[in-house]
Amino acid sequence: MTHYNILIVDDEKRYANMLAKRLNLRGCVCEVCYSGKQALEIIKHKQFFLTLLDLRLPDIYGTEVLARMKACCAGMPVIILTAHGTQEDRQECLRKGAYAFMHKPLGIEALMLILARIRGMSA
């Protein structure tokens, strides 16, 4: 199994850590950060296979983070993973280039399925 390099951006620290652990168990390499600024800083220096992005971040709203990520790393897929997403958010994110818009709670299998699909596309 290929080692996926995944960035998890979510201010719910325990959730982010737990998700990272589960993905690790499934052979992914995860990096966790808890704010938008941090995330934007990290992707400047490191390339990721995928980013899981929450919308309600303490510093910058998720849609804005998404736009900036797309500006610097257009090729990296970003999956929005939020508990609050409204229809407007959904449309905005998809317009700004999000790969998928998912609601929490999300089954790990569904997430793995998307990973497999992305891998299929990139392969």
Binding site: R22, A83, P105
Partner: protein, 594 residues
Amino acid sequence: MTGNFRSILKLLRPDFYHQMDGHLNPYFTFANYNKIWTVGILVLALTALVPLITVTGIHYQLIQKSVDSELLLRTERLTSNARRAVTFFLEERLNALRFTVNEIEYTQLTNPAHLSDVLRNIKLGFGGLSDLSVISPTGAQVAYAGPYNIEGKNYSDQHWFIECRKNNYYVSEIFRGYRNVPHIIIAVKSFRADNTFFILRATLETERLIQTVISYETGKHADIFLVNRAGIIQTPSKHHGSIFEKMALLPALKYSPRTQTIMASDGQGQKIVGYAFISTPIADTPFILMVIKQKEGMMGVWEDLFSSISWFVALCVMAILIVVTITCTFMVNKMFLADKAKAETLALVEQNNQLASVGQLAAGVAHEINNPLALINETAGYIKDLFTIAETYHQDDELMENIDSILEAVERCGRITGQLLGFARKFDIKIENINLKEIISDILLFHNKEAEYRNIKVNVDMPEGNIEIESDRGKLQQILLNLVNNAFQAMNEGCRLDIIAKRKGLDSVVITICDNGCGMPEDTLPKIFEPFFSTKERGVGTGLGLAITSGLIKKLHGDISVKSKQDEGTTFTITLPIHTKEELRDNENSLGGR
């Protein structure tokens, strides 16, 4: 018969007369339409009637006044003419006597034969005289010519003799005297060369005078006659007493040289009285000419006119009242209906606002729950991962089962919050592809437990397989949820609910929701889609559910109908288009999905 009458009365009754719907009261601008109606009619009727009645009253007074003055004027003219005639009659005869005493010597006058000649000549020239006599200063009758043998009488103590000696002329009232025949005495005093005097006296027949007076009588309501100054009737009167009796009606007559007219009244009604004191240039007379007219009789024409005017005014008043009532009823009813429509709209708006805030609340709750739910999900998932992937507890079936049940519960919670979010979005119109089977089972999720608990069998049947339609998810959810809710409220333990979806032609789908619950009386069926109509107990239903449902179906270009029988069940049939042309179509599709 009475039933018919009642239904007609009910038809005539304006809408506002019926009692208002209690729960709409706070939204009405005016509370008491019956009062507005009454006040409106009163104000309008008064505004229209007061001027009409006032003008009619003034007109009536004016006409009465002018009629009165006309009557007085006519009476005065008549009295005046009659006075002139009576005065002339007496004056002529006094002048004849005066001419006789100035022209004929005393000695000749005392000659009976000559006196008889004189009498004959006067009778020829003037008429109305019956005898002549010459009286000496001592009152003794010196000569007499006439039909009565009363020669040699002495008149020294007689009133007329004393008066004539004093005033030179005398006119008596009508009296019977010695001869017992009504007559008038006129007398003229004359001086002889030796400065002694004598009196020439004549007796006048009353018939000529009576004829003169009566000739002025006009119409049956007028009475014209002479009285003396004491009010004793002198010539025949039609209505006011016999000759030599005191006049029945006697107003206070003030002496005046001119003709007078006054209004007087006795027991028989109002009278117009004209009177004139008769007086010749040379002698005063005791006569007063009376003209009495009965006002009522004279007013006949005017009273006919007034009666026609009264009828006309009464008809006008009736017409005004009817028009005012109809106009007022119409206007107040229009006002009431507009107000009612406004109240219903306000109530609906408030209801919608409440629903909207319930939706917002649901969305908020769902969002807040989702985060901890996600954490539970991941934690439990991680534990499971530990067991499965690390293989330490791989063989422990019971642990695995428990963790699976946690995960299943989380999944169910997630589905419910997802639905709550769906409801929150129902106020936007978003057309998307909807899987009917999915949406129906989503709705039934809310009732699974209840159905199980109440032993209600729910059967979803799609004989032609699954159907996808283009519609608004939120609205369709609400429509189905409302109808399923209604069905569950109508059903008792052990009942059965069938939901059947079938294609109808190429463009539409028919969804039938059929329960065998308590049903509804047939006569209420036409009303159930009206706002605020509820067959449920007061306070249980808002009466809005089916109204909103039918409104939503219309918005989706669909149609709803109902069949129901008391105690047998109810069937709602919804027809919806499969393809909806809507500009605001939601083209966004996310990958993956939930």
